[in-house]
Symmetry: C2
Subunit: 247 residues, 2 copies
DNA sequence: TAAGGTATACGTCAGAATGACCAGTACCCC
DNA sequence: GGGGTACTGGTCATTCTGACGTATACCTTA
């Protein structure tokens, strides 16, 4: 087998090559009460009966991978407007599905206000699970979904630095504290509120003041100003991890 | 079709779902005479006869995607030791292969000293093509390989900043000028040699002096010191793009 | 109604990092 | 031996970052 000539996609012979099922799995992330959560569905059949799994489904030949991901997201959560829906990996280990050869293309979606969405979902057994519970091994995931969720989170940790994905976690208007909570939850760090503010408000095009204020929480405190996201998020992020807290 | 219940990979019925061929394509990048090059093979049959294509081949059910990528890389280039072999995307647009449903998982490989390797390759029609020629539209690529190559380059541009991939482009010992050429070629910028040196030599664990010197080129100049790569490359890169030259 | 608590808003300061630039060194070619 | 070239090493001004202190505006409780 090692002496076969270089095979490009050119020398097909449809009868010669193994068939795979291709699925699209979607790791749906959102902020809920200050912590990062992932939406999982509980499996109702074998294999992995009763285990949690990432929602997903089969790709159809007539649609692109991105279209399949968006379709599955809509079917699972009832929304067609995720702030972010990005492909981040493909998984095709032999035996990852005990029944057949399956290669899955994994997407990460970022939602805001997902609480109401889950309630209206078709999937009765969908739940928001804190990612901390998954990291602690407190949740049994089906298939290789533990690895998929882990890779998704790692991807978001990176993109928080290099893209404007942070803005996708907050609503159309938000306070700087809400935005800061995204960075703190995803990176697992604590950021100085004053310095965080300076990095964002001090520069151009990151946030646009709305003139309104948020109502303080039950603990009190000065009410925070509400902002809208500016244009700059399309070209990167305002906050960068220093090499110190990379590890 | 929109009212189907949420379908997880669980509710399989192997007869119900469309079969795909799964291939692995490898964008092989290397530095050659100061410019970034990609290794392409010329197709000898329809469709896209005579066009350039990214080397690749079919995934086997008994191997992982990473194993398939490494096997194809070996078959195409004769080396089993790419400095970097990283998955970066999946492509499954309908009709991307006119003959059948194909989803390809794309990898980017970084080689050093690829010149000698290509000579010994099985693929007689393999060539190193400057990426500048591809960007200019001077090369006709088969299938959706133009998009795949473009995405691979964009990925490397990002990873140059966030990972130690730059060290994969140079040999086991290298001069700072060689390393600087990698950044300049991939990012399309010019870096001050003195500041570049300071960013790398001034900090710990990036490069280890060997005590030897490189022979200057025909143009003369002071001979450069030869270094080995240090431990720090495993955890990121020493050079960061400022937001100014992001666009 | 007043006092205490809390979180946001804003400014200051020292240290680190960056970009621009200049001078010295060591080799090549002519 | 002289000029050209590229690496080495340094200075300087600017910007960025982390740390921290203080004022502001709302909440809760007494």
């Amino acid at each position: 087998m090692t002496s076969t000539p270089p095979s490009t996609p050119s020398d097909y012979d449809p009868s010669r090559f193994p068939a795979f099922a291709v699925t699209v799995d979607i790791v749906i992330l959102t902020m809920s009460s200050g912590a990062l959560h992932v939406l999982l569905v509980r499996r109702g059949e074998a294999p992995f009966w009763g285990r949690w799994a990432v929602p997903g489904g089969f790709k159809r030949p007539s649609e692109t991978l991105d279209e399949a991901a968006r379709r599955e997201l809509t079917e699972e959560t009832g929304v067609d407007a995720a702030s972010v829906l990005r492909q981040f990996g493909a998984y095709g280990d032999p035996g990852r599905d005990p029944r057949m050869n399956v290669v899955t293309i994994a997407y990460v979606a970022v939602l805001r206000d997902v609480g109401a969405i889950v309630a209206g979902s078709d999937a009765a057994d969908a739940s928001l699970i804190p990612v901390s519970a998954i990291r602690d091994g407190a949740v049994d995931l089906a298939f290789d979904h533990l690895r998929i969720v882990g890779d998704a989170i790692e991807r978001v940790r990176l993109e928080l630095d290099t893209t404007g994905i942070a803005a996708a976690f907050v609503g159309p208007t938000f306070t700087l504290a809400e935005l800061r909570a995204v960075y703190e939850a995803v990176w697992g760090v604590q950021l100085d509120a004053a310095n965080f503010r300076r990095s964002i408000v001090g520069r151009d095009e990151w946030v646009i003041p709305t003139g309104n204020r948020a109502r303080p929480g039950t603990a009190g405190g000065r009410p925070a100003e509400l902002y809208r996201a500016g244009r700059a998020w399309a070209r990167g992020g305002p906050i960068h991890r220093t090499s110190n807290d990379r590890k």
